[in-house]
Every structure is written in C-alpha cells, then in structure tokens.
Symmetry: C2
Subunit: 219 residues, 2 copies
C-alpha cells in the first residue's frame, strides 16, 4: 500500500508551495509515515473530486481519503496513536490552535499581498486565469496593483514576526525542545514565503529554526 499526498505545484512541478501541504508533509514526517506526493494544480478539480472537496492537501491512506489539513492532522493522531502525537493532550491541542489561528490570520494574511504577485507568473498556464480571478475578487484589486504596495506589505509582515522571533530567542522550537505541530504550521507559512517570494523574506533566526525543523526529520 502506498500512502499518497496530493500537493499543490507550480508550473515547475518540483516547486510545491502550499503552506497547508507543507504542514502536513512535516506532520507525516513527525509521525514517521512514508508517502508519495502527486503534484496538483489549482484547476485540476476533477483529479481530487473523489475526496469530496476541491482543495489540497488530500491524503489517501489505504481505504481512507482525508482532505483539509485540520482533518488530516486529527486523522493521523487517531489512526497512528503509537507514533509521536501532533496535538497530544488537551492543553497542547488548544494552545496549538491559538498558534494556528495566528499563523493563518496574521502571518499568512500578511504574506498574501506580498506573495500573490510573485506566485502568479510561476503558475502553470492553465491555472493563471483561475488564480487571477479568485484572488482579485478576494483582495478587491488587481495583482499588478498589489505589486505596487510591496514595500508597505513587507513592513507589515516584518512587524507580525515579533512574537515568533521573541519566542525563538527563548527556545529552540515553538513547541520547546523538539518541533511539534505548531512548528509545522508556522514552518508551512514561512516555507511558502521562502519558496515563492522574489525577495528574501525569511532570514537570520527564522532560517536557523526552519533548518533545525528539517534536520529533525532528516529532510
């Protein structure tokens, strides 16, 4: 049985850039689970219709099909209880949920206006019209208008890093002495930035921490 992860890809299919897919790749590594990835593009809705959803990550684990990173993390903990926990006991799950909300609503939200103009030209041709339409509708401006606001967006992003940088001055990982699911989540956001940005966004202590996460899992 091969475990399969459908994962968002750019025109260059070796470029896998979804923050939500990255957190699941690290979660699978954390739980010592092997898998193969299938590159997926925004407009390949038919290819994952079997999951009941239209977004990745989608995990196919034997007879089980699980979509949405939240569901996948819960599934992995439930199905593989003898491997290291992602969420673990209640306070850890709950505190990690705060950090997930911060990562999605503050950190990723600050990265969106920087990265959208950088991601657009790197997409497969067939994804470009879909990406432009959905993102411009969501943001209320064109991708080109967004690009002109890059310096202000970068300043906003840098300011959002304050609690993360302060924490990494006190401890090696967000979850303490070893990475946990909170690390996987925040890593996913910054990996998205690192892979797709046209200018460096992840440097110094953040780069050191990201390398330490990868090193932990031999990635």
């Amino acid at each position: 049985m091969t475990r399969l992860l459908y994962e968002l890809a750019a025109a260059d299919e070796t470029l896998r850039f979804s923050p939500f897919c990255w957190r699941i790749k690290l979660a699978l590594a954390h739980k010592n689970l092997e898998y193969e990835t299938i590159p997926w593009h925004f407009t390949d809705k038919a290819a994952i219709a079997f999951s009941g959803g239209d977004k990745v990550p989608v995990l196919v684990d034997g007879d089980h099909v699980v979509s949405d990173s939240q569901n996948i993390a819960a599934y992995l903990d439930e199905t593989y209880p003898n491997e290291p926990p992602l969420y673990g006991d209640e306070p850890v799950r709950a505190l990690t949920n705060f950090i997930r909300n911060w990562s999605e609503r503050v950190l990723q939200a600050a990265l969106v206006p920087i990265l959208i103009p950088d991601i657009f030209p790197q997409l497969a041709e067939r994804d470009k019209a879909y990406f432009r339409q959905t993102r411009e509708a969501r943001l209320g401006c064109t991708i080109e208008e967004l690009a002109t606001r890059r310096p202000a967006a970068i300043a906003t992003y840098q300011a959002t890093l304050a609690p993360l940088l302060a924490t990494l001055r006190d401890q090696k990982f967000i979850a303490g002495e070893a990475p946990g699911y909170a690390d996987h989540i925040v890593f996913g956001a910054l990996q998205w930035a690192r892979l797709m940005s046209s200018t460096p966004l992840v440097e110094g202590p953040l780069a050191v921490w990201m390398q330490a996460v990868l090193d932990t899992y031999g990635l």
Copy 2:
C-alpha cells in the same frame, strides 16, 4: 504566615490595574494559594527595594521574596508541585511562552497608546510626573498627542484580536477545557483595558471568556 502580593494601584486604591499583577493573581488562584495584596504606586520604589527590583508584582511567600511575573510563575510551579501546574510539561510551557510574547508584544503593545491617556488622570498625584516623563520618553510624544490618535489606535487593537477571537470560537479557554497560564496572561492584558479604558474595549465573546475565567476560580 501571610502570603503578600505587592500590586499596582491607582489613586483609588481599590483599582488594581497592572496586567502583570493580574496574571499572577489568577495564577495564585489557579494554584489554590491564598494571599493578601498591598497596594503600591509607581513612585513607591523604596517600599519594594527589599525585592531587589523596582517594579511589581512582588510576592513575599514566607522567607521567599520573588519579583517579576515570569519568576513568580516559575517559583509557584516549583514550590507548589502538588497544586495544578501553570506551565506543566515542556510543550505546554513552550507554547504558552509564544502566547505570552504575543500578549505582551502585540496585544498589550496595541493597548498602550489607547490606555496611557486614560490611566494618567486616574493615578495618585505623586505618580503623575513620573508616569508622564517615562511614558512620553518611551513613546516619543505627549500623552495629549497620544489621545488625539485614539480612533486609529482602537482600530489597530481590534485587528490584533483576530487570533484570540477565532480561538475562543473553537474552545472555551485558550488552554482548552479549563483556563491555564496562557489564559491568565491574556486575561491580565484585557483586564487592564477593561478597568482603565474610557470607552468599552472588551465586549461580546471576550467578556464571556473573562467571566468564565473568573467563575472558574470563584472570583
């Protein structure tokens, strides 16, 4: 033996408004430890010189004198291991530290420009010159200039609440089913806002959660 907590007070000494003192009051309640408080004012440096520092909270616990909320929390866990933990195991301690950094560097930082003009007139007369001098030097503007920027400061503060509000939609407390030290820390910040602001800053789900924290400890 009476356990004593030196705590920041306004001109009305029943008004105890320090976010750092509030987190320790909740921490003491969490650990089922009784104590008496001693009202303290910013310029009463001599009264706490015995602690080796010049700020509150200061806890006097028998022969032990501990200052700084971080030190006090660690002291309480170490000294009273049979009471419910504040930090507990490593992932809980580490994840709580992220939330502490968020609470201090984002939430409290957003509240400072709103609350400074509201706190100033409520201080004891002997504290006012000290407060004006230290805060104006730190902020680079007068208290009166700060007051003119209140609407923008409130908008910034409201935006910082996003991850907290999202978390409290998923779970009753930041630490999950029962309040933990992460709750005490964030409660302290919002209690400071609630007690000192001239306009309501803590409403709806935030007020519900704060009441639930107080109810947990019978406060």
